[in-house]
Symmetry: C2
Subunit: 236 residues, 2 copies
DNA sequence: CCAAAAGTGTTTTAATTACACCCATGA
DNA sequence: TCATGGGTGTAATTAAAACACTTTTGG
């Protein structure tokens, strides 16, 4: 039995995949191999299959492109203007993923002609993908101001200067390193390692890693890593 | 031209409509007039039509049920388990609306056998609607802790004790009225009226109303109406 | 005249910010 | 030895919380 007299639609998932290379925020884009907009840049997406949920579709697509699974990803928003895709109506649900750019496996995605683009110099994107990215960034700035999600962008071991650069990059601001260090360490989310990263200074900076248990427990807590007056207005 | 070899699905919008009667939070539910689950209670929903966006579908459905339009409503989350509807696969996008319960027009919805239920004593709901409501409440608690959205639940003129009761109800806590008043007034979002509401005390409480311009401008700002230790952990 | 709810200020505590110098080391 | 980036503490400011009495008035 079916519901009668109703129109059925294509539903797609588009993945907005963010990375951070130590200096810039990056977005993983693919060159579409098929019409319309063949050869133009696009978010990685795909149609929802009959047996899978949207979350599952998003995971499948992310894995296809990056080889990664079990990464931080969440539903962002649906995009449903009837004419957003010129071929046929498609409702797209955008997902945002934050990945460690170093775990990304180039070989996986050769088929897709994928490339990391700095969010400061994005190419033209198909359909409403530019809008999706803008909204994703706004929401990321909002959420990251209160929740420790940016850690997902870093490798397992990272230094406090790296972490700070990541926050400074997202909010385009300078943060006092003493205050930043104190706030970050007061969350107890980090474990200090014994090694140092000497790649960016002679003295070397101590590595830290996430205290996984503590991180998961406190993930949803409200934190406050950036100065009050840098906190962006909310979204939605 | 169409995309080939892809399955098309039904997409529905379900509206989670909250109200507040001065004491309790309420949810507007309808008794489904058709199978499956005929006679059971349900959120108001409907299928997305070919020419409308999801936002438009949600507005249409809200209007149909309540007679209201231009109310606070936003997309919450998609629900997409393939088997969530036993008849046929339907992807539902849940919207949350906050309305002034007094503006709701009973006559509009006679067809739907609609009823306000206190969120403390909800009936059994069809499909995954209970889950939708739970998530909506969690997100509402989170968002209302930082943004002045609960005002949408009140009539144009309201008193500070009413406002406080509304916050206390949502977080199931008592708030110091001196601190609460100070915080609320410091936002400059409210205009004091000259009249008093004498319905709940002999002395009477002054009415306040939203300073609409200021409200819209500062809507997205981060506020802090409830004590720190009552702020719920985040969601998502 | 009194019960019941509204209104109002000050003190204490906690959180956040501002701010500057020493350290370690490879070149 | 010195240039470079890493690391650290304290004082001042601001925000939030705790706390209790007076006012109004209908019954």
């Amino acid at each position: 039995m079916k519901y009668s007299n109703q129109t059925r639609l294509l539903v797609a998932v588009d993945c907005i995949i963010f990375g951070f290379d130590g200096t810039d925020y990056k977005l993983l884009l693919i060159q579409r191999g098929f019409a319309p907009e063949r050869e133009k840049w696009s978010l990685m997406g795909g149609f929802v299959q009959p047996e899978e949920s949207l979350d599952e579709a998003a995971e499948r697509i992310l894995k296809q492109l990056t080889g990664l699974h079990e990464v931080y990803m969440e539903e962002m928003q649906a995009f449903s203007q009837p004419d957003r895709d010129p071929i046929e109506r498609v409702i797209a649900v955008a997902y945002v993923a934050l990945i460690d750019i170093e775990k990304y496996q180039t070989q996986i995605n050769d088929d897709f002609h994928a490339r990391w683009y700095s969010i400061k110099e994005l190419p033209n994107l198909i359909f409403d993908h530019k809008k999706m990215v803008e909204i994703a960034l706004t929401k990321l700035r909002y959420k990251a101001a209160f929740h420790p999600i940016l850690f997902e962008l870093l490798p397992e071991k990272f230094t406090l200067p790296q972490l700070q650069a990541m926050y400074e990059g997202l909010y385009d601001t300078k943060i006092d390193k003493r205050n930043f260090t104190r706030k970050v360490l007061s969350t107890k989310l980090l474990k200090k390692e014994n090694e140092k990263d000497k790649s960016s200074s002679k003295k070397g900076a101590f590595y830290y890693s996430l205290d996984e248990d503590h991180y998961k427990e406190n993930f949803t807590n409200i934190h406050n890593f950036i100065p009050r007056n840098e906190i962006p207005a909310g979204v939605e």
